[in-house]
Every structure is written in C-alpha cells, then in structure tokens.
C-alpha cells in the first residue's frame, strides 16, 4: 500500500500555541507506510477540498502519526474543532518525502513558522547530527523547541520581533553555519522567500538542499494536476506537482 483513505481516531489533541494544534492520530497502516516529508490530506466536514497537512511525527511501533497545524481559514478551523476520541478522515500518506542518508555527519534543518513541523521526524532520525534553525513571528508563536531538543538536535531560535532567541530571520544564523562548512545536507520548509534565500546560499556553497513546498491542492495524489510547481528536468521547464512529485523537491530543480 502506498496510500489509503479512512477515518482514524484522534488519540491526543493539544493546543501548542495560539491557533496551533497538535493531533496524535492512531492509524497503524498509515504510520507503517509514512516517511518524513510526506503529508496527510484531511477532510473538513463542510468543504469540498481536503486540507494538506505535513507529518510532524511517525511512531511505527505505536502506530500513530502526529500532525501540527495552524488555523489558517475556515477549513483548518473546522478540523481544529475535532476532539480526542473522534474520527479524522485522512487520505494518507501522500507525496514524495525527504532523501535521508544515514552517513551524513552534519545536517541543518530549517523551519519557518508552520513550516517547522515536518522538520521534527528528520531531527529524530539525525539526532545530535542535526542543527535546527526555526523562525517565528514572536516568542508566543514558537513551537516544537523542546521536541527538537529532546531528539538530541541543537536548536537555534529566531523571532521576527526579537521576543525570543535571535532577532531576525533564519537565514542569518544559517549563513554563519554555512560559512563554517562541513554541512552534508540542508532541509527546509517555510515561506517561499525564505526557501529561495536558503536555496541560493546552498547553491553558492555547493550544499545538497531539499525544500518542502506548499500549493493549493485538490486530489492530493497527482491526478488532477491542480498544484503545479515550475521545475527544471533535464534542463527543460517542467510543471511538477507538489502533491506527487513533491512536496519535497531538490532545491536546484525549482524555478523560483
């Protein structure tokens, strides 16, 4: 099985910041198939389109997935109203995940805002070999810092307003790390301007970089071609699809 659709029990629900929720979902067959970087496509009861949400945790032994999402509109608001013990309708696991290489000695994981959650499964895999740089609007919006620390990763926190950690964007501490050298891979998810800057730094330094993209999506499995993204394949422009070819792309393939 690559993916399936079903209704699964929400084992645990927590608000982890203003308008940001964490769900632990009991779905053994999905958890068994899922890899870091993939997403789940969640049905919001009164809407036509499902909502794509990145996977923040995969526990194959417990048979659970964790998702962390922000209320962005009416659909995510409706999903956030679901409670522990209730069923959540998911089409999952979907998409092409991150390339993981156990031989990497140093990786940098970069998350911007709600782009941070998909970095957590990578932090768990790479442990102390990972440095996580995450950026948020303010201290109140910062999430998952303890999770990253307990995975053994080094954490660097940035806020736009300076209310916690470094005052500024994630690109500043990343530039310093990149200058020091020795980075085998960079993985990033967040706003497009952030990803574009990180990709440019990696290109300059010759560092392998993968980014996770977001796009308005319908089917989620590569049939409807709704979530097009301009990429380059064999030196020709190619409209890839975030749901199937992505959400994770090699940064050098993406045409910004």
């Amino acid at each position: 099985m690559r993916y399936t659709q079903g209704k699964y029990i929400i084992a645990k629900k927590q608000a982890i910041a203003r308008q940001i929720y964490s769900f632990e979902i009991s779905c053994p067959e999905v958890a068994a198939a899922a890899v870091p970087g993939q997403f789940v496509h969640i049905r919001a009861a009164s809407f036509t389109l499902r909502r794509p949400i990145s996977i923040c945790g995969i526990d194959k032994e417990k048979g659970t997935l964790r998702i962390v999402f922000e209320i962005r509109g009416e659909g995510t608001a409706q999903i956030a109203q679901l409670n522990e013990g209730q069923l959540i309708d998911m089409l999952a696991p979907l998409g092409h995940g991150f390339t993981i290489d156990p031989s990497y000695k140093k990786v940098v994981l970069i998350g911007g805002g709600i782009g941070t959650p998909p970095m957590l499964p990578l932090a768990k895999l790479y442990g102390s070999r990972a440095t996580v740089i995450s950026g948020f609007r303010s201290a109140g919006a910062a999430i998952l810092q303890e999770d990253f620390a307990s995975a053994g990763a080094e954490t660097i926190l940035c806020t736009d307003d300076g209310s916690a950690g470094i005052h500024g964007f994630v690109t500043e501490p990343f530039k310093e790390l990149a200058e020091q050298g020795g980075i085998d891979a960079v993985y990033a998810c967040g706003p497009m301007p952030m990803l574009k800057n990180i990709a440019a730094i990696c290109k300059e330094k010759g560092i392998f970089c993968q980014i996770s993209l977001e796009e308005r999506m319908a089917c989620g499995i590569g049939a409807c071609l709704g979530c097009a993204c301009r990429t380059k394949r064999n030196d020709e422009e190619y409209f890839a699809h975030v749901c199937k070819d992505g959400p994770v792309f090699n940064a050098e393939e993406v045409l910004w």
Partner: protein, 303 residues
C-alpha cells in the same frame, strides 16, 4: 441487486458511473484505492495534439459548496496517451472515453484521427476551450463554431463521438442541436461554469489565471436543469454531470434525462465517491423495487 447497465450510442456499460475528465487523470492514481474495473467508464484527462504545460499556480480555489480550477489543459499529448496510458486502461473492464481538446477544429480532428486507429471505446470532445482562429472565444459558445468542430471531428473518426457542452451560453439547447446535426452520437454536460474569487487582503484573484471553472455541489441544480432541457431538445443520449456527489444525485440527473453520469469534484472530497455512488444507486433502486436503472432515465414527470 438492480441492473445498473446502460447503453450509450451502442456502447454497453455495466453501470452508468464515470469519473469526469480532469479529476481522475488517466486512472492510475485511483487504482491504488479501488479496482478501476468497478467503474462503468472513465473520461480521461483532456488531451491535445502536443504536450501542454498548463497555467501557472494557483490553479485551485475553494468556494462555497464547490471549487474553481484553471489547470489550463496540462497534458502529455495524444501520442503519449496512445502509447502509454490507453494500453493500461484497456486492460481494465471499463469503457474508456478519451477526452480531447484543441485550439482549432483541425487540431481536434487530427487528435480524433489518431484515436480512430486505437481500441478506445468513445471520444469525448471538449468544446469549452478557446478557438484561436476565432479570437479565443470558446468553440462551445457559438452554434456555428460548435457545429464546425463537431463536423470536422466526425469526419475524422468512426468512434462514438460525445460532445461535451459548455454551460456558459445563452441557450445550451441550441448548441446541443447544432452538434447533433453535425454528427455527434451523444452529448455530455455540464462542463464547469466560469467563476472568479478575489483575495481581499491582497486585491489579487485567487487563481493565477484570474478566472476558472466552477464545479461541485453548488452547480448541481444548474446541471439538472440543463440536462433536462437538452434531453428534451435532442434525440441522441445525454451524459449528465455537474456536482454529482451521491447516489441520489446520480438518480436525479438520470431522471432529468441522463443515460449515464460523470462524477467530478466529489472525488476530491471522497476519493471513493464513484464506487460509493454506484452502491448507493443500487440501494435506492432496490428500496424502490426498480429492477433496472434504465427505467429511470428521463422518468421525471414535469408539472
């Protein structure tokens, strides 16, 4: 267990449910969820003479009880379809309606001619795309253009020819009569209704193409009305579509005059929608003691 089989211009279908063109690709992605052979048919992604990259993103927007799309006919071209996708679909037990489109009547005819040499079961001609020879107005918005493209495609193929009608017209019955006169074996309707959404915080349209096609439950009553009007205006069979999301909707559209139904946006909400609709239709027919779905085609008793 009611008899769900229907016959559309000489082609037998074991049930009347067909995923609509555009939502279902060439079927492969859904085979992961259920056997394609459970379907009556499949209307494949609109395919043109050459590869098309389609429109820039965003191509999708949510709307009340529906959605907008402006994919822009992204497809790998008819040769790829014939070499790679069609052989796969022909290994399944279902009717393949190859949906085709083009920028000129001649291009549509050339695509149809290529399909004529294959084992595809039916051709569905999309006339909602712009006619570049006529200033970009959609073929399906003028009787003379709809007639011309249908006639040229008709001449290029002996396959059963279904012409898919646009609802963005003053009188869909006039267009239906024009394509019937030009040799269409059936019509399918409704394609999407042209719509638009604007992000009021940025002042930008949500779709990069500014406008796009509206589908989903919101358009269902329009589909019922248009299917009913067209079924009463032409002698050829009508394939109904537009916002069908349940077995009851499918029954309703068939009562309005459709001989089969296509399912579109509902598949995005529930990827199993087509197979669920088949079983819901069966349950409803059984509950009413109706032995064949053919008995409800056009069975509406208008006031």
């Amino acid at each position: 267990m009611a008899d769900l089989s229907v016959n559309i211009c000489g082609v037998d279908m074991k049930n009347p449910v067909i995923p609509a063109s555009g939502v279902f690709g060439y079927g492969r992605e859904y085979e992961e969820l259920f056997p394609l052979s459970e379907l009556g048919g499949i209307a494949t992604k609109g395919t043109t003479l050459h590869l098309r990259t389609g429109n820039l993103s965003p191509r999708i927007a949510e709307t009340p009880a529906g959605m907008l799309n402006s994919v822009g006919l992204q497809n790998p071209g008819i040769d790829h379809f014939i070499e790679t996708e069609l052989p796969y679909l022909l290994t399944k037990d279902l009717v393949v309606l190859a949906n085709i489109a083009g920028a000129t009547p001649e291009e549509c005819a050339e695509v149809a001619a290529k399909l004529d040499e294959t084992d595809v079961h039916m051709i569905e001609l999309n006339i909602s795309c712009p006619n570049v020879k006529q200033g970009g107005a959609a073929f399906g918005t003028r009787c003379d253009m709809a007639e011309e493209v249908t006639r040229k495609v008709r001449a290029a193929t002996k396959k059963p020819l279904v012409v898919k009608l646009s609802p963005n017209v003053t009188s869909i019955t006039e267009i239906a009569k024009a394509v019937e006169a030009a040799g269409a074996d059936a019509v399918s309707l409704i394609n999407t209704l042209l719509g638009m959404r604007i992000d009021i915080n940025t002042g930008r349209p949500v779709l990069r193409n500014n406008v796009g096609g509206l589908s989903g439950p919101a358009v269902f009553p329009i589909a019922v009305r248009m299917v009913w009007q067209v079924a009463n205006a032409v002698k050829i069979p009508v394939i109904g579509m537009g916002g069908v999301s349940s077995g009851r909707d499918a029954i309703e559209l068939m009562m309005a005059g459709a001989s089969a139904v296509q399912v579109g946006a509902a598949i995005f909400t529930d990827p199993y929608a087509p197979v669920r609709i088949i079983s819901e239709m069966n349950e409803w027919l059984d509950s009413k003691g109706i032995s064949s779905v053919k008995d409800i085609i056009g069975a509406v008793k208008p006031w």
